[in-house]
């Protein structure tokens, strides 16, 4: 064996070692949390970049996707949800509670009677695809103004009706955002899509639109909004269904 080919082998061996090492590192929790610091940096950098609260890009009606892919749950199977669906959500109410001055619940008609906002935006899935849709709903800020947030409220948790993770409490979908996004003008509770009532596949009767973040933050089938000062006591403790399964809480990237 020549010196050159031995060196070549050494190089290839080191390369292989590096790669198998990376996979092993990936499975080490402390290393996972170390590379997670990149995400902290991203979060703070983006908050700085977004400090002027710019709006997400809005589109023309002609840009709306021919078919808007429905992802995640397409039709919640629970008896509660099916009963609500059967009477066209006439008895559905959105509960808003937690760290608020006055817990309140709202019917669909009451939400529709409040000031509304319509926006045509691009929905970016974490998987990489995008679809453009039009959303009409009540700004979350309007709802929060009515219930009055307590001074120590920091997050809003959206409790949903769909069991994406299987039957039982642990499988329930949920999401959370902080007040920076909660009071953004494009953060709305949408009850209509492309001018029609929100279809079941897209979260009827009410879904969150928090533009400037990825698709998994756009909670569908919202039943209850809870104001809280911490996320570690809810479900898996990381602030959302996908967050509890390894995805980042801040989904602006």
């Amino acid at each position: 064996m020549t010196v050159a080919s031995r060196r070549g082998l050494l190089g290839a061996g080191l390369g292989g070692l590096l790669l198998s090492g990376c996979d092993r590192l990936t499975n080490t929790p402390s290393f996972q949390s170390f590379i997670g610091h990149g995400q902290d940096l991203t979060f703070h950098a983006q908050r700085l970049l977004l400090s002027g609260q710019p709006l997400a890009r809005e589109f023309k009606a002609s840009d709306i996707s021919r078919v808007f892919k429905a992802n995640g749950s397409q039709s919640p199977t629970s008896d509660t949800y099916q009963a609500l669906l059967a009477d066209n959500f006439a008895s559905w109410r959105l509960m808003v509670d937690g760290l608020v001055a006055a817990p309140m619940s709202f019917s669909l008609a009451e939400l529709k009677a409040m000031p509304s906002r319509t926006q045509i935006t691009r929905h970016d899935c974490v998987e990489g695809w995008s679809a453009i849709g039009g959303w009409t709903g009540v700004p979350l800020a309007e709802v929060l103004r009515r219930v009055g947030l307590a001074p120590d409220a920091r997050y809003l948790v959206f409790h949903c009706a769909d069991n994406l993770g299987g039957a039982g409490d642990a499988g329930l979908y949920y999401e959370s955002i902080d007040l920076f996004d909660a009071f953004h003008p494009q953060t709305i509770l949408a009850y209509a899509m492309n001018g029609a009532p929100l279809p079941v596949a897209h979260g009827a009767p009410l879904r969150l639109r928090v533009e400037r973040q990825l698709g998994y933050k756009q909670a569908k089938y919202v039943m209850r909004i809870e104001a809280t000062d911490r996320l570690d006591r809810t479900h898996g403790g990381r602030g959302g269904f996908w967050e509890d399964r390894g995805y980042e809480w801040y989904a602006g990237i």
Binding site: V3, C22, D23, I35, R57, S65, V126, G128, W129, S130
Partner: protein, 284 residues
């Protein structure tokens, strides 16, 4: 007292040893080797979550991709296929359908041996990718700042007027095609094609990776919508991110071939320790 005997003929010229690469170039180069390799591999894992590319702002399952890595089950069995434009290429074992980390056949865009992590894991791949992206940007910024301030970019990379003279360009192209490498004085600096290739990588391809990557972020799109406009939409930016990554891989392949042709050990050592033995004219 010992006598040093030389096996060189007394009249043979002593090989000249120079310091070929500055310490900043050497450090940033090797950081890039590791970081770009891992960025590529975690990027392929992310791509596998939706192995289709589109032009424009939007694109999903019901839209027409211009590139898709998938399987074709027509005629009973399954084969891996790459649809590119109108073409349909069988790629079983590599693209669309290949063996997973457990050795079983798996429907996946790129094969497990090329992705980080090897298993399909979008959340972890994203965590790797964005962590590495910060290292990549910091490393690149250091290279650019020190390269501009210290004169490396002006001295070693920027082509001179004489470099760009048509006669010199033509000679360099012919030399490359004949796999002829410069010797003596000319071997102490980059030739014009080398300068242009490095310049294209550091000034175009690598910055384009950062900018198209940032464009994919819905947060950045809200803060700097001009980026999305520049690249023709989010899905176009994703496509350009992918194409540019491929061009970087192509550059690395050519770069490695050239290193081997020019004398792998001398070249690699000069990038590690800086020591470079100037190749001499062959006699006889």
């Amino acid at each position: 007292m010992t006598t040093v005997t030389s096996d060189l003929a007394p009249d043979a010229p002593r090989p000249e040893v120079i310091r070929r690469h500055g310490v900043v170039v050497r450090i940033t180069h090797w950081i890039n080797v590791v970081v770009i390799s891992l960025l590529l591999m975690s990027g392929l894992n992310i791509f596998n979550a939706h192995p289709r590319l589109y032009w424009g702002q939007a694109g999903a399952d019901f839209d027409r991709p211009w590139l898709e890595l998938t399987i074709d089950t027509a005629g009973g069995g399954a084969r891996g296929v790459a649809h590119i434009g109108g073409a349909d290429i069988t790629t079983t074992g590599l693209l669309g359908l290949s063996r997973g980390p457990d050795g079983h056949w798996q429907i996946q865009g790129f094969p497990s041996w090329a992705t980080l992590p090897a298993r399909r894991d979008l959340a972890t791949a994203r965590r790797w990718h964005f962590f590495l992206a910060w290292l990549f940007v910091i490393n690149g910024a250091a290279y650019w700042l020190i390269g501009l301030a210290g004169g490396h970019l002006r001295r070693d990379i920027a082509p001179t007027r004489r470099d760009l003279a048509p006669r010199n360009l033509w000679r360099s192209i012919v030399d490359h095609l004949r796999l002829k490498h410069p010797v003596g004085e000319e071997a102490k600096r980059y030739n014009v094609l080398q300068k242009l290739a490095y310049l294209a990588v550091i000034a175009l391809l690598l910055p384009a990776m950062v900018l198209t990557g940032l464009t994919l972020s819905p947060g950045v799109d809200a803060a700097i919508p001009q980026l999305t406009t520049l690249f023709g939409g989010r899905q176009s930016a994703r496509a350009i991110h992918f194409i540019t990554a491929n061009l970087i891989v192509l550059f690395v392949i050519v770069h490695l071939v050239e290193v081997v042709l020019a004398g792998a050990w001398n070249e690699i050592r000069s990038m590690i320790t800086g020591r470079y033995v100037v190749p001499m004219e062959k006699h006889g």
